[in-house]
Structures are given as C-alpha cells and as structure tokens.
C-alpha cells in the first residue's frame, strides 16, 4: 500500500510557489479543505481513460 502523501509539505511548497503568506490557522483550514479535494480526486485519477480521449475544452453539449 502506498503512503498517504504529505499534503502539509505539498501545501507549504505551494504557499511559496504562489507567493502567499499564511498564518497557522489558515494553513490548518487549507489542509482540511485540500485533503477533502485529494480524497475526491483519488477515484478519478484511478479511472482508466482511453488514451485517445481528449479534454472537453470549450464544451459544446
């Protein structure tokens, strides 16, 4: 089983990359919100998409 990514470390890097200045309270809430999104992304990233499938782009229904 793979280890759970260290999202706090990832967010700390992103905080620098995006030139943000957060305090600890905001970092804690950011981690809560990001962890929720990460959980949602897992089944999507595991989904086997056809390698010729393109992005929806400017979507025309």
């Amino acid at each position: 089983m793979k280890n759970t990514p260290d999202w706090a470390a990832y967010l700390a890097q992103m905080e620098q990359v995006l030139a943000l200045e957060l305090d600890d309270a905001r970092r804690a809430e950011l981690l809560t919100q990001f962890s929720r999104i990460a959980t949602m992304s897992a089944p999507l990233m595991a989904y086997p998409l056809d390698d010729r499938l393109e992005v929806a782009g400017v979507y025309q229904a």
């Binding site: 990832y10 967010l11 992103m14 995006l18 030139a19 943000l20 905001r26 809430e29 950011l30 809560t32 919100q33 990001f34 929720r36 999104i37 949602m40 992304s41 089944p43 999507l44 990233m45 989904y47 998409l49 056809d50 499938l53 393109e54 992005v55 929806a56 782009g57 400017v58 979507y59 025309q60 229904a61």
Partner: protein, 465 residues
C-alpha cells in the same frame, strides 16, 4: 387580486385592458418589496428609479397604441452577479463592493429590458456563487419564504426567494453545479437551467467558465418558457455560446406529455436522498408513465470531477485577490478557494477528459428517453446555520452537498427544468426533469404535464414574521 396571483399573460391582459398601468405595477411591486424584504433579505439593491422609468416607457407605448413587447410591465430581479448599468456588480462579495459601477447592462438584462420587463433590483447569493445555502457572512442569509427559519438554497438563493414570495414574476440566476436547481427545489418554485452554451453569459461575473450557465426562475411553466424564449439569441461576444439558432418553447407546451418517453434515474440519484425526495420522484414517474429505471455509471466520479474543475478554475480566478486582500474574503470560502488554486494540473486535466468520457457514456440514453427524472436535492430546506444533513446514513456538509444530485447533470451540460412537489412535512422539494442537449422544450413539456395533473403548484408564499 394581488399581483402575485396574476400569471404573466394575465398581467399583460390587465395592462392592455387598462385595468393596471405599468407604473401601478411597478409601484405595487416596490411597496411589497419594501414591506417583505426585511424578513427575507433577498434584495441587496432596489432599483426603484429605473423600474419606474421602464414602466413609464411601457405606459407611453400603450397610450400611443404601439405594439407591446413580450414581457411588457413584468416585474423581475436578477442575482447580483449580473451587470446592471450604474451599479457595482457584487457577485455576493464584499470584495467587490467598492469597484466601479457597470457601464452597461449584462446581455441578458439588456434583452429583458428590450422585452419590456421592469427591473426591481439585484438579489443576494453565496459569495462568488460558491455554495448551496445563501448564508452570506457579509450580506446575511436569505430566508426561505416557505419557512423563514430555513435556508433558501444557493447560490441563487435571493433569486428563488424573491419569486417564491410572489414579489416578482420571475428572476435570473446562474447555475454552475446546481445554483438554480437547488434554490428552486428548496423554495418550491420552477427553475430552468438551459443547455450549457444556450444563453449568453456576457456581462455576468464568472465563477467557473467551463460550467457556468444562466437561467430563469418562475412560478409556472408558461411564465418560465416565456422568459426563456425572451432570453434566447446569438451573442457573438460570448465564446462559450453554442452555435444554435433560437428555438422558442412556449407554443410547444400545449403538447404536454404527448409522445414523451420518460425514465427514472436510479443508482446514485436514488441512494443519496431521503424518503421525501424518493416519494417525489415516484409520484413524478407515475404521472409521466416512467416505468424504466436507468443509471449513470460513475455518477459519483462525475460529481467529483465537477467539484475539481470548479475548485481549480474558481481558485485560480480569485488567486490574485487571495494574495493581496485575504481579509476581504468570505470566511466560509476563503481557504476552500485557496485549496482549489493549489490543485495539481493532472487532477484538473483528468477531470476535463473524464467529462468527455461521461458525455459519451450518457448521451446514447437519449435515443430511448426524452426526459429523465431525478431528485434536485437530497432533502428539503435545512435550517439556517445547520452545518450538516443526514443522508444515506452519513452526515454531509450542507453547504457543499446540497447540490450533489445536480452536479453530475450540469457537468454534462444537459437542460433541466426543476419542478416543486409537496412533501409530507409540508415543505417543497424539487424534481429534475432532464432532457437531451438543446431539447429544453421536452423538459418544459414534462413540467407542464405535471402542472396540468395538479402535482406541481408553485403558488406565492405568504411571508409573515
């Protein structure tokens, strides 16, 4: 007879006959808003001068014997993310309260003005359109006219409350993941989320370009179709608008249920709602002779993908302001937006590719069905401040989850009419009538058939505090 008891057609008949002038309609509307808005908190701005000027134009046309436009003297209001000339466009955010006034109306507002409708003002919403409850920390919560202790739904909560309270005949909202269908469901009125790309979004404040739609709310199918027809038209400045000519729907409503093939969406849509929502779907299915059940495989992943696209595009949109003025953000959304801005590109691109995959899986179903039926919300309106709702044995966050049954449908861009049914508790709940792309007429005809059978009634609520 109160104005709210008139349909748009009856209102116009009274105008043509001289029983009411446009100015009288405007004055009565403004007076009713002044009386009831303090209990509802639906309007964030009332445009009294403009409304009276628009009314006087209609009265002059009538006196001069000129033909009246299709929405002559019909009172309405718009979600406060639509540009209205002379006013700052708020998008529910105090962040925007001091930005310059819009120089011209949004494309849709201009179209309604040309159609003779009378603008009463702008309406409350979740900040940035990010939420399903219209509990806005800066502008306050909008109260549900059916029960003032409950949420109106969101993000177009003010738009739904204004119509449900009978203060205007229709309103405009936007729907990225359910922001028309959720408040229509919780406030007990009709809402139309047209096909993605059908109506121009020019002059509305964007949230998620890949998913944003605009659309109307009303208390009857005929009123809804009339307004939708007035909003159609080509706007060359909107890059996301589909290359489709207008397809008027009003005349087709008389066909009702004739020849409509309806089915019920099961699986995810049956699982993630309570008994009230299931009963409403069952009643709708019986009335529309929908005996077959179909499922969308991977509906849950579709919802997650819509969530990821929303978080990523919305987060990126607000990143400069999150960096420069974080203290001016809605506290309920600030770190949620920031988290979205930090999503890895691989997740976002996978979501956009899955969108194409999901479309390819679902669209063939419409070879067999004209309308698919699903609940609009997992339950009826929760109380203001209620953090979670108990669905399918799980406590879910209300603000993010009230749209979980609408998200997979808007991800596909399908047109949906939401109709209200009564639950055993007396509160309304909405049912989604979902059609194939650019077949709004089918969803509206199904809604009309339910009205004719007496199952859908969206009378104005009596607001008292």
């Amino acid at each position: 007879m109160k104005l709210a008891e008139f349909s748009i057609a009856q209102l116009q008949n009274a105008l043509v006959c001289g029983d009411l002038s446009a100015r009288e309609i405007a004055q009565q509307t403004l007076s009713a808003i002044e009386q009831h808005n303090p209990a509802l908190n639906a309007w964030t701005e009332i445009t009294a001068d403009r409304m009276l000027q628009e009314a006087d134009i209609i009265d002059r046309q009538r006196r001069d014997g000129q033909p009246l436009p299709p929405l002559a003297a019909v009172p309405y209001a718009v979600k406060n993310l639509f540009d209205v000339a002379g006013y700052s466009t708020l998008a529910g955010a105090s962040l925007f309260s001091d930005r310059p006034a819009a120089r011209e109306d949004a494309w849709a507002v201009n179209k309604l003005a040309q159609s003779g409708a009378l603008l009463s003002g702008m309406l409350n919403m979740d900040a940035y359109a990010y939420g399903f409850t219209t509990e806005n920390s800066h502008y306050g919560a909008t109260h549900n006219p059916r029960d003032l202790t409950r949420i109106a739904g969101g993000s177009s909560g003010g738009s739904a409350a204004a119509v449900a309270a009978g203060l205007v005949h229709f309103s405009l909202g936007t729907d990225t993941n359910g922001s028309i269908r959720v408040p229509a469901s919780l406030c007990g009125i009709l809402g139309l989320k047209p096909t993605f790309g059908r109506l121009s979004r020019s002059g509305s404040h964007p949230f998620v370009a890949s998913l944003d739609h605009i659309g109307p709310f009303a208390r009857s199918t005929k009123d809804l179709a009339l307004v939708y027809d007035a909003l159609q038209g080509r706007d060359s400045t909107d890059a996301f608008q589909a290359d489709q000519s207008p397809q008027p729907t009003l005349a087709a409503l008389s066909k009702g249920q004739e020849g409509l093939r309806c089915g019920v969406l099961g699986g995810y849509f049956h699982q993630w709602c309570n008994e009230d929502a299931r009963a409403a779907v069952a009643t709708t299915a019986r009335a529309l002779n929908a005996s077959d059940e179909v499922t969308f495989a991977d509906a849950e992943i579709a919802r997650s993908s819509a969530f990821l696209i929303s978080a990523s595009e919305g987060g990126n949109h607000y990143l400069p302001a999150l960096r420069a003025t974080p203290e001016r953000f809605e506290p309920l959304s600030r770190e949620r937006l920031l988290a979205g801005a930090m999503i890895p590109a691989a997740w976002y691109i996978q979501a956009q590719r899955f969108r194409r995959h999901f479309q390819q899986q679902v669209l063939p179903l419409f070879a067999h069905f004209d309308v698919l039926i699903a609940p609009a919300t997992p339950c009826s309106a929760t109380t203001i401040g209620q953090e979670t709702m108990h669905i399918n044995g799980v406590d879910l966050p209300t603000r993010a989850s009230m749209g979980m049954l609408t998200q997979p449908i808007s991800f596909l861009g399908l047109p949906v009419t939401t109709v209200p049914l009564q639950t055993a508790s007396g509160l309304p709940i909405g049912v989604q009538l979902i059609a194939a792309p650019f077949k709004e007429e089918m969803a509206l005809r199904a809604a009309r058939a339910l009205e004719q059978q007496g199952l859908v009634m969206a009378q104005a609520a009596t607001v008292s505090k």
